[in-house]
């Protein structure tokens, strides 16, 4: 395997042929925010948080799915990039209904971490407050569409690692969502093996493990009522 040399944020680096910009950055302790990327899953370049500037190339490229080339000059953190990443995160926060205080994943959430790292603490954008369903039909797991960021990690892990292909994406644009089987309740899925991989890879509280005790169920119920009252107040 041949070695390639490139410049990242002014530093001369060497890397293995075939590596992505993200891999090289991580090896050299350069932080690039990511969300849809997960080591071990095929990259889809969907969240666009990892975009970087490459000298001589038009526009911006996703670090997770751009393979390095000899002599490449990459900028991972310009002012413009910071502004764009912040705005992309703002879009995510207003797209769903992210109420951290009542979320099962509070303080263990990639989305929250990203907001802290990228410095996103408020938004100028209007909350979309969509009406989204929860699916609690599965015996052990739950899905809360309000917190889904459509990263498709669950879809990919289920297809690529578990081989069940229970999860998929339905709909277009702002109406797109993840579904199980042909949009049937998760609990009735014929393909789901209940392995729980999707729950493990989900970056937010959208997929979660149901608690063994009744305490967590109560928590969920409060969340739904809270959301409802919030939406009522929106209308």
């Amino acid at each position: 395997m041949s070695v390639k040399t490139l410049k990242m944020d002014g530093k001369d680096l060497s890397a293995r042929e075939g590596d992505t910009i993200l891999q090289v950055a991580e090896e050299n302790n350069i932080y690039i925010p990511t969300l849809c990327h997960l080591d071990g899953l095929a990259d889809v370049g969907a969240c666009r948080l990892c975009v970087v500037e490459i000298k001589g190339r038009r526009g911006f490229q996703p670090a997770c799915s751009t393979v390095i080339e000899e002599g490449m000059e990459v900028v991972t953190n310009s002012e413009t990039l910071q502004k764009y990443r912040r705005l992309i995160l703002e879009l995510l926060f207003v797209e769903g209904n992210h109420v951290c205080a009542v979320c099962v994943s509070n303080r263990h959430c990639d989305l929250q971490d990203l907001a802290v790292k990228v410095g996103m603490n408020y938004t100028r954008l209007a909350y979309r407050a969509p009406v989204r369903d929860m699916d609690l039909s599965h015996e052990r797991f739950g899905f809360d569409g309000n917190r889904c960021v459509l990263c498709t990690r669950c879809v990919r892990v289920c297809d690529e690692i578990e081989g069940a292909h229970t999860w998929d994406v339905r709909g277009r644009g702002i109406e797109a969502s993840v579904i199980t089987d042909l949009d049937q309740p998760w609990g009735e899925s014929l393909t789901c093996t209940s392995c729980g991989k999707c729950v493990q890879v989900c970056p937010t509280g959208a997929l979660f493990q149901k608690g063994k005790s009744a305490a967590e169920m109560v928590k969920q119920a409060t969340f739904v009522t809270y959301l409802k009252s919030m939406r009522e107040s929106k209308k």
């Binding site: 990259d43 889809v44 370049g45 969907a46 969240c47 666009r48 948080l49 975009v51 526009g59 911006f60 490229q61 996703p62 799915s65 751009t66 393979v67 413009t80 502004k83 764009y84 705005l87 992309i88 879009l91 995510l92 207003v94 797209e95 100028r124 954008l125 209007a126 979309r128 960021v149 459509l150 998929d168 994406v169 709909g171 277009r172 644009g173 702002i174 109406e175 797109a176």
Partner: protein
């Protein structure tokens, strides 16, 4: 078929046609067909039968003036009739016998609408019966393929296309010869040719018309491409909303196979080429090449990051050449008449012609083919006949939801890839939506953003949520409740969505906003709550 058989077939067909005293062409394109042209054709055929078949009545492709349909032509376009109905059949026939056209139906064919056009791709449209391969062959069809296969090496074919300067007509204007050369250099026993007929811009029907009017032109162009790059299989991806185009293409493929102009050992050479049709379910984003390929593979039609480009890894991971319908339709003329002839049309960097679909507030609604480099003013006023109802021209949107508007001060602009881009618009695939002085440009931007928002595939965040937010902000501005901070936010979103979206849909979705802001910012500002008083200039 063997080489010489093509000439024999052409000669036989020309003799057959020469035996008719007259040929009447009835437009059977989608536009005219929806206003009863099949019935008109039947009425004319019945009339011809009464008079002993000395006159041939044929279905022909679109003649361009769709707004004046149903259109009927007599002896190519010696006489053109507009707004024809079934009851006119007797009069038209009587006129033929007397040698006097039916005055009240005649539409002048020496107006700038006709004389200023240069028809390369549409040379057979309105002339041949798209359902008969013999008509196409009589006009010289399939001789370019024969020339390529029997007189040229694949490299020579690619060279010819490269030096012609032809650029992709699907929107981006990528040099076609360069693309062919890239795919030809890929080492792979299996390669594919794909024709992109997904055409989904609002107001665009250029490709539909080419497919409906002259389907063999596309098949022949694809076969030449297959020979050039080393592929034996081609696919035409057509949206299911184009049933007539699909039917014509299917029929054309069947006829070409029958004459062995597709299939194995074409013209006795060792070149094999087959073409199949694949139907798109009508998502605009499926016109994007990587989404289109995913869709043919039976997957969800969402774009993926490039590189790798399809030229390297396309359909089923194999090197794939993907070109637009109109791009393929230019190939036979280049091979037949040579690259020097082709590049003598148009400008230095934008050679050949371009088909545009004129719609909106313009007198002559329809399809036109013009040399690149023609001025916008000539298109609007000479060919298009100007703005109806005593209104003034305000702007024209080119490139549909991915493009921008060009205001009246730039009517002099040369219509070519670079000049339109410099004005913040794009050539696009050929839609031209004309707006008069009653148009609100904020509403225009709002209309196109609604399109992009609903056609976004939802895969990447900037486009999925960004288009929805921009749409809402535009609605807020129109409602008169927005502040200058909202306008600033809209502009910030435009930049970010343009720069970070995964595919061309998101990357170009902000264009209509950016270009209306560039030329008509005062219309936005006038709607703001904290509207700045307009400064006197």
């Amino acid at each position: 078929m063997e080489s010489h058989e093509l000439d024999e077939l052409a000669a036989r067909e020309r003799t057959r046609q020469g035996d008719y005293h007259h040929q009447i062409g009835v437009c059977v394109g989608s536009g005219c067909a929806s206003s009863r042209s099949p019935q008109i054709r039947a009425a004319l055929e019945a009339e011809a039968k009464k008079h002993g078949h000395a006159c041939r009545v044929k279905g022909v492709g679109c003649m361009g003036l769709c707004g004046a349909g149903p259109m009927v032509s007599v002896d190519d376009d010696e006489v053109l009739y507009q707004h024809v109905s079934e009851s006119d059949a007797t009069r038209i026939y009587a006129g033929l016998e007397k040698g006097e056209p039916v005055e009240d139906l005649v539409i002048a064919n020496d107006t700038p609408f006709f004389t200023k056009q240069v028809r390369v791709v549409r040379r057979n449209a309105g002339k041949i019966d798209p359902d008969r391969i013999e008509d196409y062959i009589a006009e010289g069809g399939y001789s370019a393929l024969r020339k390529a296969l029997t007189e040229m090496t694949p490299e020579e074919v690619i060279d010819e296309v490269r030096t012609s300067g032809l650029r992709g007509r699907g929107g981006a204007g990528y040099p076609t010869g360069l693309k062919w050369s890239t795919v030809s250099k890929m080492k792979s026993p299996q390669k594919y040719v794909i024709c992109n007929g997904d055409e989904g811009d609002p107001g665009a029907f250029m490709d539909r018309s080419v497919m409906e009017s002259d389907p063999h032109l596309i098949l022949e162009g694809m076969a030449i491409a297959g020979y050039a790059i080393g592929a034996t299989q081609g696919y035409i991806y057509v949206r299911a909303e184009y049933p007539l185009a699909i039917e014509r293409l299917k029929n054309a493929i069947k006829q070409a196979r029958k004459y062995e102009l597709l299939g194995e050992n074409i013209f006795g050479t060792d070149f094999d080429f087959s073409i199949e049709i694949r139907l798109g379910a009508g998502a605009f984003v499926c016109g994007e090449e990587t989404a289109l390929i995913a869709s043919i593979e039976g997957k969800r039609g969402s774009p993926r990051p490039r590189p790798p480009y399809p030229a390297e890894s396309g359909l089923w991971g194999k090197p794939t050449l993907i070109n637009n319908v109109e791009t393929f339709a230019n190939i036979t003329a280049i091979i037949e008449k040579g690259s020097a002839w082709f590049s003598s049309i148009g400008t230095e960097k934008s050679t050949g012609t371009k088909i545009f679909a004129l719609s909106g507030k313009i007198t002559n609604i329809g399809l036109i083919e013009v040399p690149m480099g023609i001025s916008l003013g000539e298109i609007i006023y000479d060919i298009g006949g100007g703005i109806p109802d005593g209104h003034e021209f305000k702007a024209v949107q080119t490139g549909g939801p991915s493009g921008g508007c060009i205001p009246a001060v730039h009517l002099e602009v040369s219509v070519d890839y670079e000049s339109l881009k410099a004005l913040g618009s794009i050539m696009g695939s050929g839609g031209m939506i004309v707006m008069d002085d009653t148009a609100s440009m904020v509403e225009v931007a709002h209309y196109f953003m609604e399109f992009s928002k609903s056609e976004s595939c939802g895969k990447c965040i900037p486009c999925r949520v960004g288009t929805a937010q921009m749409y809402d902000l535009l609605a807020l501005i129109i409602s008169g409740e927005a502040t200058s901070a909202d306008l600033q936010l809209l502009e910030d979103l435009c930049e970010m969505v343009r720069d970070t979206s995964l595919c061309g849909l998101g990357q170009s979705a902000p264009n209509p906003v950016l270009s209306t802001l560039r030329y008509f910012r005062e219309e936005y500002e006038a709607l703001l709550v904290d509207a700045k008083p307009v400064e006197a200039k």
